[in-house]
C-alpha cells in the first residue's frame, strides 16, 4: 500500500529513505556495496555470537530477576546518555544544517506533520545503532526460551522517542533563550558533554572516594538498599520493560506516546519559529560606517596562522570536538594535581592520546578543508610558508591546551614530565604531518565523515596515536619503575611511530 502523496505517512517514507541514504549501512549510496553488506552481516552475526555467549552463561548461572532488571536498566541508562548525545546532534542538523526544510515549509503540508515526522526521524536515527547492538540479545533469548526479551525492540524504540522529544525541547528552549546563532554551538557542546557523561560520572566517583573501593562499595550498597537505586526505583523501569515485564513496558510505551504527542502539539509552532531564526544566522545588525578596524600583518606566516585560528574559533563542530577533548582532559588534570609528585603512565598516555586526536581534527580543518585553495594557488606567496603556517596553527593549539599540566608534571617529577612532554610533542607533530602529507582536500562540512573519506589517513592517524600513547606509557613507566620488558615495549612503540610517519611520507600526495 502506497501512502497518499502529501500525507504524514508519505513524508515519513521520504524521511526514512533519506536516512537510509545517509546511513553508515548504505555508505552514503542509494544501494550499499557488497563489501558494506558483508561487513554489517559479519558484525551482526558477531553480536549474536556475543549475545549467545553471555546468555548461555546466564542460563547456567541464573541471576535474580530484580538484579537482572537493574543490570538491564544500568545498560539502558548508559545507552540513554549516548542516545541523548546523538539526538541533540540530530536536532541541530534538523534545525540548522539540512537545507530541505525551506522546501517542506513552503509546501502546502501542515507544519505540524513536518515537525511530527522530523521528530520521528530524530528518534529513528537515535535508535538504529542501539537496535543493531541489542536486538541480537532478543533473538538469542527467544531461541533459549525467554520470549519476554523481545520487548527489547519496543523498549529501545520508546526510549529513543522520549529522548528525541527531550533533545528537541532542549534545542528549542536554547533557541528561545540564547538565539539560533548561539544554540548551534551550545547544542553541539551539550551533545559532546552528554556523550562523555558516563566517563565524567565515573571519574567523579573516583575523585569523591579517592580510590577507596570499600567506601565506594559501601556507599553504593546504601543507595541500592534504601536510596534512589533500590530495585523498585522507577530508574530501573526501562530495564524491567526490556526483559518483558508487562506493566513497566506499558508505562514506558505510554510515556513515549504522551511525550511525542505533547511535544508535537505544544511545540510545532515554535519549531517553525526556530527555523526562521536559524535562517537569519550570519545576519548581524549593520554598525555605523567608520567603525571598520584592520590589523594587517607584516609576515605571511602570522597572517595565515591568525586566519586559521579565526576559522577554528568560529566553527561550531570544531568547538564541540575541542570541548569534548577538554571534557576528557579535566578528570586527567585532577589526577595529575592529586598525584602530587610524578606523572603516572596512564596520565602520560592519556594526555598524549588526547593531544594526538585533537591535532588530527584541527589539522584536517586547517589543511584539508581549506575553503579557498584557488586563492592560495593564485597568490605569489610561497606554498611552503603557507603549509608550515597551517601546520603550526593546527599544532600550537593542543600544545597550548596541555602546556600548564605538562609544566606542573615537569616541576613535580622532572624525568617523567619531560618524557610526557616529548611524547605529546611527537604525537602532535606526527598527527599534523600525516594530515599534511596524506590528507585529501574536502569541504569543511565533511568534518564528521572525514574518517570514511580518507581511510589511509585515518588508519595512519590511529596507528600514530596508539604508538605515541604506548610510548608515553612505557617511558613514564621506565622513569618511575624500570623493567626490561617495558624497555622493549618502548622501543616497539617508538618503531611503530617512526614506521607510521615513514609510511605517511611514502604515500604523500603530490601537490600543485
Amino acid at each position: 500500500m502506497k501512502a497518499a502523496p502529501g500525507s504524514a505517512l508519505w513524508l515519513l517514507g521520504h524521511e526514512l529513505r533519506l536516512a537510509w541514504y545517509n546511513s553508515a549501512v548504505s555508505g552514503g549510496k542509494r544501494r550499499p556495496g557488497i563489501a558494506s553488506i558483508i561487513v554489517w552481516i559479519v558484525g551482526w552475526t558477531a553480536m549474536h555470537a556475543l549475545a549467545y555467549a553471555l546468555l548461555h552463561g546466564l542460563g547456567k548461572h541464573p541471576v535474580d530477576r530484580a538484579l537482572l532488571g537493574m543490570l538491564a536498566g544500568l545498560v539502558l541508562l548508559v545507552l540513554s546518555t549516548f542516545m541523548l548525545s546523538g539526538a541533540l546532534k540530530a536536532c541541530t542538523l534538523a534545525l540548522f544544517e539540512r537545507g530541505d526544510l525551506d522546501l517542506l515549509l513552503s509546501s502546502p503540508l501542515p507544519s505540524r506533520s513536518i515537525f511530527a515526522v522530523r521528530l520521528l526521524g530524530v528518534a529513528a536515527s537515535s535508535a538504529v545503532l542501539f537496535l543493531f547492538l541489542f536486538t541480537p540479545f532478543a533473538h538469542v533469548a527467544l531461541f533459549m526460551g525467554w520470549p519476554g526479551w523481545l520487548a527489547i525492540y519496543p523498549t529501545i524504540a520508546a526510549l529513543a522517542i522520549v529522548i528525541a522529544c527531550a533533545a528537541m525541547l532542549l534545542t528549542l528552549a536554547l533557541v528561545r533563550v540564547f538565539g539560533a546563532r548561539r544554540t548551534r554551538v551550545l547544542a553541539q557542546v551539550l551533545a559532546a558533554v552528554a556523550g562523555a557523561l558516563l566517563f565524567l560520572l565515573s571519574q567523579s566517583f573516583n575523585l569523591i572516594f579517592r580510590g577507596d573501593d570499600r567506601a565506594l562499595a559501601q556507599s553504593a550498597r546504601g543507595l541500592i538498599e534504601h536510596g534512589p537505586l533500590a530495585p523498585g526505583s522507577p530508574l530501573w523501569l526501562p530495564g524491567r520493560a526490556a526483559l518483558g515485564e508487562p506493566v513497566p513496558l506499558l508505562v514506558l510505551a505510554a510515556l513515549a506516546l504522551a511525550a511525542y504527542a505533547l511535544t508535537v502539539a505544544r511545540t510545532h509552532r515554535f519549531f517553525v519559529k526556530g527555523l526562521q531564526q536559524a535562517a537569519g544566522i550570519g545576519h548581524v545588525a549593520p554598525r555605523p560606517a567608520g567603525a571598520v578596524r584592520f590589523r594587517f600583518r607584516r609576515s605571511l606566516f602570522d597572517t595565515v596562522v591568525v586566519k586559521e585560528w579565526r576559522l577554528i574559533a568560529r566553527d561550531p563542530h570544531l568547538i564541540s570536538q575541542v570541548l569534548l577533548q577538554v571534557v576528557y582532559l579535566v578528570p586527567l588534570l585532577f589526577l595529575i594535581l592529586r598525584s602530587g609528585d610524578a606523572a603516572g603512565p596512564a596520565i602520560g598516555a592519556g594526555l598524549t592520546l588526547l593531544c594526538s586526536s585533537l591535532t588530527a581534527s584541527l589539522a584536517w580543518i586547517v589543511i584539508s578543508a581549506e575553503d579557498a585553495p584557488d586563492l592560495l594557488l593564485s597568490a605569489p606567496a610561497a606554498m611552503r610558508t603557507i603549509r608550515l603556517a597551517k601546520l603550526a596553527a593546527a599544532t600550537m593549539l593542543p600544545l597550548l591546551v596541555v602546556a600548564l599540566p605538562l609544566l606542573w608534571m615537569i616541576v613535580h617529577g622532572p624525568l617523567a614530565g619531560l618524557m610526557v612532554a616529548f611524547t605529546v610533542s611527537g604525537a602532535v607533530l606526527s598527527a599534523g604531518l600525516i594530515v599534511l602529507w596524506v590528507g585529501r582536500p574536502a569541504p569543511r562540512s565533511n568534518f564528521k565523515a572525514r574518517g570514511k573519506e580518507n581511510f589511509l589517513s585515518s588508519m595512519l592517524e590511529l596507528a600514530a596515536t596508539l604508538s605515541w600513547g604506548g610510548l608515553a606509557w612505557s617511558l613514564v613507566s621506565l622513569a618511575t619503575a624500570p623493567a626490561d620488558w617495558v624497555l622493549v615495549a618502548a622501543a616497539g612503540a617508538l618503531a611503530g611511530a617512526a614506521i607510521t610517519l615513514g609510511l605517511a611520507w611514502l604515500f604523500r600526495r603530490e601537490r600543485a
Binding site: 550570519g282 554598525r287 567608520g290 571598520v292 594587517f296 586566519k307 584557488d374 586563492l375 593564485s378 605569489p380
Partner: protein
Amino acid sequence: MSADTPALQLRALRKHFGRPAVDGLDLSVRRGELYALLGPNGAGKTTTLRMVTGLLAPDEGSVEVLGIDLARDPAAAKRHMAYLPDDPMLYGKLKPPEYLEFVAGLWGLRPEEAEPRGRHLLDWLDLSKHAHEVTEGFSRGMKQKLALAGALIHEPQLLILDEPLTGLDAAAARQVKDLLLSHVAGGGTVILTTHILEVAERLAQRIGIIRQGRLIAEGTLAELRERTLGGSLEDVFLQLTEQA
C-alpha cells in the same frame, strides 16, 4: 619591460582532459585594454583563465604576464595579477576586513599600504556597514563585491574575471562595471569572460571568441561585424560560432 610588452601573451597553449579543452591557443592582450573572451559552454574559457593564473599547468605552450614567463617565475607573474572566478574565493567564517587582511598578507603588502586601500575599497563597494558580519550570510552580490575588493587590494596590473556579473542585481552589476572601467582608465588591464553579450559589447575594447579551445575570431566589435553579416554582438557571436 618595454611599453609594447603585452599584459598577457599566450603561445600555443594546450590542455587535454581526455579531449582537448584548450587546443593551441595564441592570444595577446595589450596593456590598458578591456578584453572580453567569449565562447559557448565548454569552449575552454575557464580552463584558459585557470592556466593563466597558475591554477592549472598547461600540457604545452607558454603564458607570459607583462613579459614574465609564468612557468619560470610564477611568483613574479602572480604578483601583478588578480583572479576572480565565478564562484568567489571567500571564507564563510571571516569578516570582510579579516578577508582583506588575509589577501593582503598573501600578496605581501605592507600594512601601511594595505590599510588605506582596504578602507577605500570597503567604502567604495558599500561593504563598510557589513564589516562586522561573517561572509557566509552575504548575498551573492555582496560576496562578489568583497572578492573583487580582495582582487583589487594589491592594485594588480592585470585583472582576470570569470563571469563576474553572474547573479548580481542591477545596482551591484553597475558598480562592478564602473569599477572595471575605472581600472582600465587607470592604466590597468582587464580580461573577462561573460555570457551576457551586452556587457562585452558595451565594455570591451577587443573581443576574442573561442570555440573548442581555439581562437576563431578576434578584434573590435566593428572588425567582427565586418567579418560577418553584422548586427549586434549576439548576432555576430552566433554567426561566428555556428560557422566554425
